[in-house]
Assembly symmetry: C2
């Protein structure tokens, strides 16, 4: 079956975006399967991972690190807090910011999840030589730049 039509502006098999999307789709599906046994979703795992490296960070800053909106992060944090994986307390000086930290339970969940998630990352890394990894990262970075340029001139 033909996936996409050619009547539109560009033939489907020349759209590199599809290749990137496919790779990311496979990646997120694999990670989901990896972190699920630890009782976490992918966004929750990403949040805990970022939190482990930045204790006491604010929700908005955490959102920037995880590349989501502050509102989206709020929901994730609320779920994590209800389950006791994180704890939030008002910042001593700036009362408007809530400091967020991992609990022991949260760190344990993160470690269980990361142990399995890292298998995926190792598999990707093992597929390529050091030279190829460098090439892939370089190409993806240029891709990023091109997209950003195009979007800003839209």
């Amino acid at each position: 079956m033909r996936l996409y039509a050619h009547f539109m502006g560009m033939p489907a098999d020349e759209r590199l975006g599809l290749d990137i999307k496919r790779a990311e789709q496979a990646l997120i599906a694999a990670k989901q399967a990896a972190v699920r046994p630890a009782g976490l979703t992918v966004p929750q795992y990403a949040t805990l991972l970022a939190l482990a490296g930045n204790p006491g960070i604010s929700g908005a800053a955490l959102a920037r690190v995880c590349l989501v909106t502050p509102q989206a992060m709020t929901v994730v944090l609320k779920n994590l807090e209800e389950r006791g994986l994180i704890e939030r307390s008002p910042h001593p000086w700036h009362r408007s910011v809530l400091e967020t930290r991992l609990t022991e339970t949260g760190r344990a969940a993160l470690e269980a999840a990361d142990e399995r998630a890292v298998v995926i990352e190792r598999a990707i890394a093992a597929e390529f030589s050091a030279e190829e990894r460098k090439t892939l990262r370089g190409l993806l970075a240029r891709c990023n730049d091109a997209i950003a340029r195009a979007a800003s001139e839209l």
Copy 2:
């Protein structure tokens, strides 16, 4: 600010998944900005594009083409139908399947959206030489394979 900790199993700057995720994030953000003026979301745009190439396809088949679950596609189709961009009618033989087709309005919306979305794809294509495009697709495909292998052995 350090994005991710190293206490976990693998340093963050060796995780190629992050590069892929970043590229896809930039891509989807750019496409969102592109199709928004046409009154479409990215999933809606993807659905209409697939529909243009496969008139009369069933909802479940459409879901497979767009790499989403049938349930997710149902919601998208319901929104599109309520706005008159598509129409669904029972299949003459198989009464359980609903044939879906673009309406004239839908085709117009798709063309308006694609005109802008294709700018992004062209920008990506223009960033690379033919050789580089081939390399990038090859690396992403191998990445895909590695992920699939790792996920199946999880």
